[in-house]
Protein backbone atom coordinates (compact mmCIF):
# COMPACT_ATOMS: atom_id res chain seq x y z
CA UNK A 1 0.00 0.00 0.00
CA UNK A 2 2.84 2.32 1.01
CA UNK A 3 4.70 1.57 -2.24
CA UNK A 4 1.60 1.96 -4.32
CA UNK A 5 1.13 5.48 -2.97
CA UNK A 6 4.74 6.35 -3.71
CA UNK A 7 4.47 5.09 -7.28
CA UNK A 8 1.26 7.01 -7.74
CA UNK A 9 2.90 10.26 -6.58
CA UNK A 10 5.91 9.60 -8.78
CA UNK A 11 3.72 8.99 -11.79
CA UNK A 12 1.76 12.15 -11.17
CA UNK A 13 4.93 14.21 -10.91
CA UNK A 14 6.38 12.71 -14.06
CA UNK A 15 3.19 13.16 -16.03
CA UNK A 16 2.58 16.74 -14.98
CA UNK A 17 6.27 17.47 -15.46
CA UNK A 18 6.07 16.24 -19.02
CA UNK A 19 3.01 18.27 -19.67
CA UNK A 20 4.70 21.40 -18.40
CA UNK A 21 7.79 20.77 -20.54
CA UNK A 22 5.74 20.17 -23.62
CA UNK A 23 3.98 23.47 -23.18
CA UNK A 24 7.14 25.59 -23.29
CA UNK A 25 7.60 26.76 -26.87
CA UNK A 26 11.14 26.33 -28.15
CA UNK A 27 12.94 29.06 -30.05
CA UNK A 28 12.00 29.44 -33.69
CA UNK A 29 15.37 29.37 -35.37
CA UNK A 30 15.39 30.62 -38.96
CA UNK A 31 17.20 28.48 -41.50
CA UNK A 32 20.40 29.79 -43.08
CA UNK A 33 20.53 30.68 -46.75
CA UNK A 34 23.14 28.09 -47.74
CA UNK A 35 22.74 24.32 -48.09
CA UNK A 36 24.56 23.67 -44.87
CA UNK A 37 26.53 25.46 -42.20
CA UNK A 38 30.34 25.47 -42.07
CA UNK A 39 30.14 22.80 -39.35
CA UNK A 40 27.41 20.30 -38.36
CA UNK A 41 24.53 22.15 -36.69
CA UNK A 42 25.00 20.39 -33.37
CA UNK A 43 28.66 21.39 -33.24
CA UNK A 44 27.88 24.99 -34.11
CA UNK A 45 25.20 25.15 -31.41
CA UNK A 46 27.71 24.09 -28.80
CA UNK A 47 30.89 25.75 -29.99
CA UNK A 48 30.03 28.73 -32.20
CA UNK A 49 31.36 31.23 -29.69
CA UNK A 50 34.75 29.52 -29.42
CA UNK A 51 35.08 29.49 -33.20
CA UNK A 52 34.14 33.15 -33.56
CA UNK A 53 36.41 34.16 -30.69
CA UNK A 54 39.38 32.35 -32.18
CA UNK A 55 38.79 33.90 -35.58
CA UNK A 56 38.33 37.30 -33.95
CA UNK A 57 41.82 37.34 -32.49
CA UNK A 58 43.37 35.97 -35.65
CA UNK A 59 41.77 38.62 -37.80
CA UNK A 60 42.35 41.52 -35.44
CA UNK A 61 45.99 40.84 -34.60
CA UNK A 62 47.31 38.78 -37.49
CA UNK A 63 45.17 39.98 -40.38
CA UNK A 64 43.98 36.45 -41.15
CA UNK A 65 40.79 36.90 -43.09
CA UNK A 66 39.54 33.43 -43.90
CA UNK A 67 35.80 33.28 -44.37
CA UNK A 68 34.94 29.96 -42.73
CA UNK A 69 34.32 31.33 -39.24
CA UNK A 70 34.11 34.99 -40.13
CA UNK A 71 31.43 36.92 -38.31
CA UNK A 72 30.56 38.73 -41.50
CA UNK A 73 29.88 35.40 -43.18
CA UNK A 74 27.61 34.31 -40.29
CA UNK A 75 25.39 37.37 -40.56
CA UNK A 76 25.39 37.24 -44.36
CA UNK A 77 24.26 33.63 -44.57
CA UNK A 78 21.85 33.83 -41.65
CA UNK A 79 20.19 37.06 -42.68
CA UNK A 80 16.45 37.14 -41.96
CA UNK A 81 14.23 39.44 -43.95
CA UNK A 82 10.94 40.95 -42.84
CA UNK A 83 7.78 41.18 -44.93
CA UNK A 84 9.06 44.19 -46.82
CA UNK A 85 12.25 42.35 -47.77
CA UNK A 86 14.45 44.35 -45.40
CA UNK A 87 16.98 42.49 -43.27
CA UNK A 88 16.00 42.52 -39.58
CA UNK A 89 18.53 43.73 -37.03
CA UNK A 90 19.58 42.05 -33.81
CA UNK A 91 16.94 44.01 -31.95
CA UNK A 92 14.24 42.01 -33.73
CA UNK A 93 13.31 38.63 -32.24
CA UNK A 94 13.33 37.08 -35.69
CA UNK A 95 17.06 37.79 -36.11
CA UNK A 96 18.96 34.51 -36.31
CA UNK A 97 21.17 35.14 -33.28
CA UNK A 98 18.47 36.80 -31.25
CA UNK A 99 15.94 34.01 -31.89
CA UNK A 100 17.94 31.63 -29.72
CA UNK A 101 19.69 34.08 -27.43
CA UNK A 102 16.49 35.75 -26.28
CA UNK A 103 15.05 32.30 -25.58
CA UNK A 104 18.13 31.29 -23.59
CA UNK A 105 18.34 34.74 -21.98
CA UNK A 106 21.97 35.15 -22.93
CA UNK A 107 22.94 38.71 -23.78
CA UNK A 108 25.00 39.23 -26.94
CA UNK A 109 27.49 42.10 -26.95
CA UNK A 110 28.72 41.52 -30.50
CA UNK A 111 26.21 43.85 -32.09
CA UNK A 112 27.13 46.83 -29.92
CA UNK A 113 29.92 47.29 -32.44
CA UNK A 114 29.35 44.84 -35.28
CA UNK A 115 26.68 45.26 -37.90
CA UNK A 116 23.93 42.68 -37.38
CA UNK A 117 22.92 42.72 -41.02
CA UNK A 118 25.11 42.56 -44.10
CA UNK A 119 25.90 45.98 -45.53
CA UNK A 120 25.21 46.39 -49.20
CA UNK A 121 28.69 47.50 -50.23
CA UNK A 122 30.62 44.59 -51.66
CA UNK A 123 34.20 43.90 -50.68
CA UNK A 124 35.10 43.92 -54.35
CA UNK A 125 35.00 47.69 -54.45
CA UNK A 126 37.80 47.57 -51.91
CA UNK A 127 40.23 46.10 -54.39
CA UNK A 128 41.55 49.51 -55.39
CA UNK A 129 44.94 50.01 -56.95
CA UNK A 130 47.91 47.93 -56.01
CA UNK A 131 50.05 49.54 -53.34
Amino acid sequence: MKYLRFILVLLTVLLTGNTVLAEVPGPVIPKGNADKCVLPTQEMRLHHMEKILHQRDNTMHKGIRTTKFSFKKCITCHVVKDDSGKAVTHKDKRHFCNSCHSFASVKIDCFDCHASTPTSKSTKSNAGGKP
Partner: protein, 254 residues
Protein backbone atom coordinates in the same frame (compact mmCIF):
# COMPACT_ATOMS: atom_id res chain seq x y z
CA UNK B 1 85.97 38.36 -52.03
CA UNK B 2 83.91 39.85 -49.22
CA UNK B 3 80.86 38.40 -47.53
CA UNK B 4 78.42 40.34 -49.61
CA UNK B 5 79.76 38.95 -52.85
CA UNK B 6 79.72 35.42 -51.55
CA UNK B 7 76.06 35.77 -50.60
CA UNK B 8 75.16 36.57 -54.17
CA UNK B 9 77.38 33.95 -55.78
CA UNK B 10 77.84 31.09 -53.36
CA UNK B 11 74.37 30.55 -51.90
CA UNK B 12 71.56 29.29 -54.06
CA UNK B 13 68.67 31.64 -54.77
CA UNK B 14 66.28 29.46 -52.79
CA UNK B 15 68.46 29.59 -49.68
CA UNK B 16 68.97 33.29 -50.13
CA UNK B 17 65.26 34.00 -50.28
CA UNK B 18 64.52 31.69 -47.38
CA UNK B 19 67.03 33.51 -45.21
CA UNK B 20 65.21 36.72 -45.96
CA UNK B 21 68.41 38.67 -46.53
CA UNK B 22 67.64 41.96 -48.21
CA UNK B 23 70.84 43.93 -48.58
CA UNK B 24 73.51 44.29 -51.21
CA UNK B 25 73.23 46.07 -54.53
CA UNK B 26 74.68 42.95 -56.16
CA UNK B 27 71.49 41.02 -55.50
CA UNK B 28 69.04 43.80 -56.15
CA UNK B 29 67.30 41.90 -58.94
CA UNK B 30 66.70 38.82 -56.85
CA UNK B 31 65.58 40.78 -53.79
CA UNK B 32 63.47 43.07 -55.94
CA UNK B 33 61.62 40.11 -57.38
CA UNK B 34 60.97 38.55 -54.01
CA UNK B 35 59.79 41.81 -52.46
CA UNK B 36 57.49 42.54 -55.35
CA UNK B 37 55.73 39.25 -54.78
CA UNK B 38 55.33 40.04 -51.09
CA UNK B 39 53.77 43.38 -51.91
CA UNK B 40 50.82 41.65 -53.58
CA UNK B 41 47.79 40.62 -51.51
CA UNK B 42 48.74 37.98 -49.00
CA UNK B 43 46.74 34.74 -48.90
CA UNK B 44 43.77 35.17 -46.55
CA UNK B 45 44.90 32.38 -44.23
CA UNK B 46 48.36 33.76 -43.62
CA UNK B 47 49.46 36.07 -40.86
CA UNK B 48 50.91 39.50 -41.57
CA UNK B 49 54.66 39.66 -41.14
CA UNK B 50 57.30 42.25 -40.33
CA UNK B 51 58.73 41.81 -43.82
CA UNK B 52 56.46 44.69 -44.69
CA UNK B 53 55.80 48.04 -43.16
CA UNK B 54 52.86 49.93 -44.53
CA UNK B 55 53.35 53.65 -44.77
CA UNK B 56 52.38 56.78 -46.52
CA UNK B 57 53.91 59.92 -47.94
CA UNK B 58 51.89 63.10 -48.15
CA UNK B 59 53.09 65.80 -50.48
CA UNK B 60 51.76 69.02 -48.97
CA UNK B 61 52.74 70.95 -52.10
CA UNK B 62 50.02 69.06 -53.97
CA UNK B 63 47.47 69.04 -51.14
CA UNK B 64 44.82 71.61 -52.02
CA UNK B 65 43.62 74.06 -49.39
CA UNK B 66 39.95 73.56 -48.63
CA UNK B 67 39.84 70.14 -50.29
CA UNK B 68 38.42 67.46 -48.02
CA UNK B 69 38.28 64.53 -50.43
CA UNK B 70 40.40 62.32 -48.19
CA UNK B 71 38.40 63.14 -45.07
CA UNK B 72 35.10 62.51 -46.83
CA UNK B 73 36.31 59.26 -48.34
CA UNK B 74 37.53 58.09 -44.93
CA UNK B 75 34.25 58.95 -43.26
CA UNK B 76 32.31 57.18 -45.96
CA UNK B 77 34.54 54.11 -46.09
CA UNK B 78 34.48 53.53 -42.36
CA UNK B 79 30.88 54.49 -41.71
CA UNK B 80 31.55 57.70 -39.81
CA UNK B 81 28.99 59.55 -41.91
CA UNK B 82 26.02 57.26 -41.38
CA UNK B 83 24.04 59.52 -39.10
CA UNK B 84 25.21 58.18 -35.75
CA UNK B 85 26.57 60.35 -32.92
CA UNK B 86 23.56 62.65 -32.87
CA UNK B 87 24.23 63.98 -29.38
CA UNK B 88 27.96 64.58 -29.58
CA UNK B 89 29.41 68.02 -30.17
CA UNK B 90 31.46 68.41 -33.36
CA UNK B 91 34.68 68.26 -31.37
CA UNK B 92 33.52 65.06 -29.69
CA UNK B 93 32.56 63.25 -32.86
CA UNK B 94 34.91 60.69 -34.34
CA UNK B 95 37.52 62.03 -36.72
CA UNK B 96 40.04 59.70 -38.28
CA UNK B 97 41.57 62.33 -40.56
CA UNK B 98 41.67 66.06 -39.90
CA UNK B 99 42.64 68.70 -42.43
CA UNK B 100 45.16 70.99 -40.75
CA UNK B 101 46.53 74.29 -41.98
CA UNK B 102 49.97 75.32 -40.84
CA UNK B 103 51.18 78.88 -41.07
CA UNK B 104 54.77 79.99 -40.89
CA UNK B 105 54.49 83.15 -38.80
CA UNK B 106 57.69 84.60 -40.23
CA UNK B 107 56.68 84.34 -43.86
CA UNK B 108 52.89 83.90 -43.76
CA UNK B 109 53.32 80.82 -45.92
CA UNK B 110 50.53 78.31 -45.26
CA UNK B 111 50.40 74.63 -46.02
CA UNK B 112 47.40 72.34 -45.87
CA UNK B 113 47.75 68.71 -44.88
CA UNK B 114 45.71 65.74 -43.75
CA UNK B 115 46.64 64.51 -40.28
CA UNK B 116 45.70 61.04 -39.16
CA UNK B 117 47.20 58.25 -37.08
CA UNK B 118 50.86 58.29 -38.03
CA UNK B 119 51.30 54.54 -37.40
CA UNK B 120 54.46 55.06 -35.38
CA UNK B 121 57.12 52.45 -35.04
CA UNK B 122 57.27 53.26 -31.33
CA UNK B 123 53.68 54.25 -30.64
CA UNK B 124 53.06 56.03 -27.32
CA UNK B 125 49.41 54.92 -27.43
CA UNK B 126 50.59 51.31 -27.20
CA UNK B 127 52.96 52.11 -24.34
CA UNK B 128 50.26 53.57 -22.14
CA UNK B 129 47.40 51.17 -22.87
CA UNK B 130 46.61 49.29 -19.64
CA UNK B 131 44.84 46.36 -21.32
CA UNK B 132 46.85 45.76 -24.47
CA UNK B 133 43.96 46.91 -26.64
CA UNK B 134 46.12 49.48 -28.39
CA UNK B 135 48.62 47.48 -30.38
CA UNK B 136 50.85 47.51 -33.42
CA UNK B 137 50.50 44.79 -36.02
CA UNK B 138 53.64 43.17 -37.33
CA UNK B 139 53.30 45.08 -40.58
CA UNK B 140 53.33 48.39 -38.72
CA UNK B 141 49.62 49.24 -38.65
CA UNK B 142 48.59 50.61 -35.24
CA UNK B 143 45.08 49.51 -34.23
CA UNK B 144 42.69 49.40 -31.30
CA UNK B 145 41.34 45.97 -30.41
CA UNK B 146 37.93 47.20 -29.34
CA UNK B 147 37.15 43.81 -27.83
CA UNK B 148 39.55 44.59 -25.00
CA UNK B 149 39.45 48.40 -25.01
CA UNK B 150 37.96 49.67 -21.74
CA UNK B 151 37.61 53.25 -22.96
CA UNK B 152 40.06 54.81 -20.48
CA UNK B 153 41.38 57.18 -23.16
CA UNK B 154 44.99 57.15 -21.96
CA UNK B 155 46.02 56.58 -25.57
CA UNK B 156 44.19 59.72 -26.64
CA UNK B 157 46.21 61.73 -24.14
CA UNK B 158 49.46 60.04 -25.11
CA UNK B 159 49.10 60.59 -28.86
CA UNK B 160 51.00 63.72 -29.92
CA UNK B 161 49.00 63.86 -33.17
CA UNK B 162 45.54 63.98 -31.55
CA UNK B 163 44.65 61.16 -33.88
CA UNK B 164 42.24 59.18 -31.75
CA UNK B 165 38.55 59.59 -31.00
CA UNK B 166 36.29 58.21 -28.32
CA UNK B 167 32.77 57.08 -29.10
CA UNK B 168 30.39 58.60 -26.57
CA UNK B 169 27.11 57.14 -27.68
CA UNK B 170 25.42 54.03 -29.00
CA UNK B 171 25.92 53.47 -32.73
CA UNK B 172 23.44 51.67 -34.94
CA UNK B 173 24.63 52.00 -38.50
CA UNK B 174 28.02 50.34 -38.58
CA UNK B 175 29.35 48.72 -41.73
CA UNK B 176 29.96 44.99 -41.57
CA UNK B 177 33.68 45.34 -42.31
CA UNK B 178 34.23 48.31 -39.97
CA UNK B 179 32.94 47.56 -36.47
CA UNK B 180 32.72 50.58 -34.15
CA UNK B 181 30.99 51.05 -30.83
CA UNK B 182 30.25 53.08 -27.75
CA UNK B 183 32.85 53.23 -25.02
CA UNK B 184 35.86 52.45 -27.20
CA UNK B 185 38.61 54.51 -28.77
CA UNK B 186 39.21 54.41 -32.49
CA UNK B 187 41.49 55.92 -35.11
CA UNK B 188 42.70 55.50 -38.66
CA UNK B 189 43.23 51.82 -39.43
CA UNK B 190 45.06 52.57 -42.67
CA UNK B 191 41.98 50.88 -44.15
CA UNK B 192 43.29 47.56 -42.89
CA UNK B 193 40.36 45.67 -44.44
CA UNK B 194 41.46 46.93 -47.85
CA UNK B 195 45.18 46.57 -47.29
CA UNK B 196 44.81 42.93 -46.23
CA UNK B 197 43.17 42.17 -49.56
CA UNK B 198 45.74 44.02 -51.63
CA UNK B 199 43.97 47.37 -51.76
CA UNK B 200 44.87 50.98 -51.02
CA UNK B 201 43.42 53.18 -48.26
CA UNK B 202 40.28 55.06 -49.24
CA UNK B 203 41.88 58.48 -48.63
CA UNK B 204 44.72 57.79 -51.06
CA UNK B 205 42.28 56.58 -53.68
CA UNK B 206 40.09 59.66 -53.21
CA UNK B 207 43.07 62.02 -53.46
CA UNK B 208 44.05 60.39 -56.74
CA UNK B 209 40.48 60.54 -58.03
CA UNK B 210 40.30 64.24 -57.12
CA UNK B 211 43.38 64.71 -59.28
CA UNK B 212 45.72 65.99 -56.58
CA UNK B 213 47.78 62.83 -56.22
CA UNK B 214 49.25 64.16 -52.98
CA UNK B 215 49.23 60.82 -51.15
CA UNK B 216 51.43 57.83 -51.80
CA UNK B 217 50.83 54.53 -50.08
CA UNK B 218 52.85 51.34 -49.97
CA UNK B 219 55.37 49.12 -48.32
CA UNK B 220 58.23 51.15 -46.83
CA UNK B 221 60.45 48.07 -46.79
CA UNK B 222 59.94 47.42 -50.50
CA UNK B 223 62.31 49.63 -52.46
CA UNK B 224 60.12 49.24 -55.55
CA UNK B 225 56.91 50.47 -53.97
CA UNK B 226 55.45 53.83 -54.97
CA UNK B 227 56.07 55.33 -51.60
CA UNK B 228 59.67 54.13 -51.27
CA UNK B 229 60.56 55.46 -54.70
CA UNK B 230 59.10 58.85 -53.84
CA UNK B 231 60.80 58.97 -50.47
CA UNK B 232 64.08 58.28 -52.17
CA UNK B 233 63.78 61.13 -54.68
CA UNK B 234 62.92 64.10 -52.46
CA UNK B 235 63.38 64.89 -48.82
CA UNK B 236 60.51 64.32 -46.45
CA UNK B 237 60.01 64.69 -42.74
CA UNK B 238 58.00 63.27 -39.90
CA UNK B 239 55.78 65.55 -37.87
CA UNK B 240 57.31 65.94 -34.40
CA UNK B 241 60.40 64.08 -35.55
CA UNK B 242 61.98 65.15 -32.26
CA UNK B 243 59.89 62.53 -30.44
CA UNK B 244 61.71 59.70 -32.25
CA UNK B 245 58.51 57.77 -32.86
CA UNK B 246 59.45 57.00 -36.46
CA UNK B 247 55.97 57.44 -37.94
CA UNK B 248 54.89 55.42 -40.96
CA UNK B 249 53.32 58.58 -42.38
CA UNK B 250 55.79 61.14 -43.69
CA UNK B 251 55.28 64.61 -45.16
CA UNK B 252 56.93 66.57 -47.93
CA UNK B 253 56.96 70.35 -48.06
CA UNK B 254 56.65 71.22 -44.39
Amino acid sequence: MNNQDSSSDGISRRKFLAAGVVTTAGVSIASGVSLLSIAQAKPADQSVTDKQRWGMLIDTNKCAKGCTSCVDACNHENGLDRGDEQHSRPDQKAHWIRKVELKDKATDHTVSLPLMCQHCENPPCVDVCPTGASFKRKDGIVLVDKHICIGCRYCMMACPYKARSFIHEELNNQLDYAPRGKGTVESCTLCVHRVDTGGTPACVEACNTAGHKAMYFGDLKDSNSDVSKQLKIHSSTAIRADLNLNPGVRYRGI
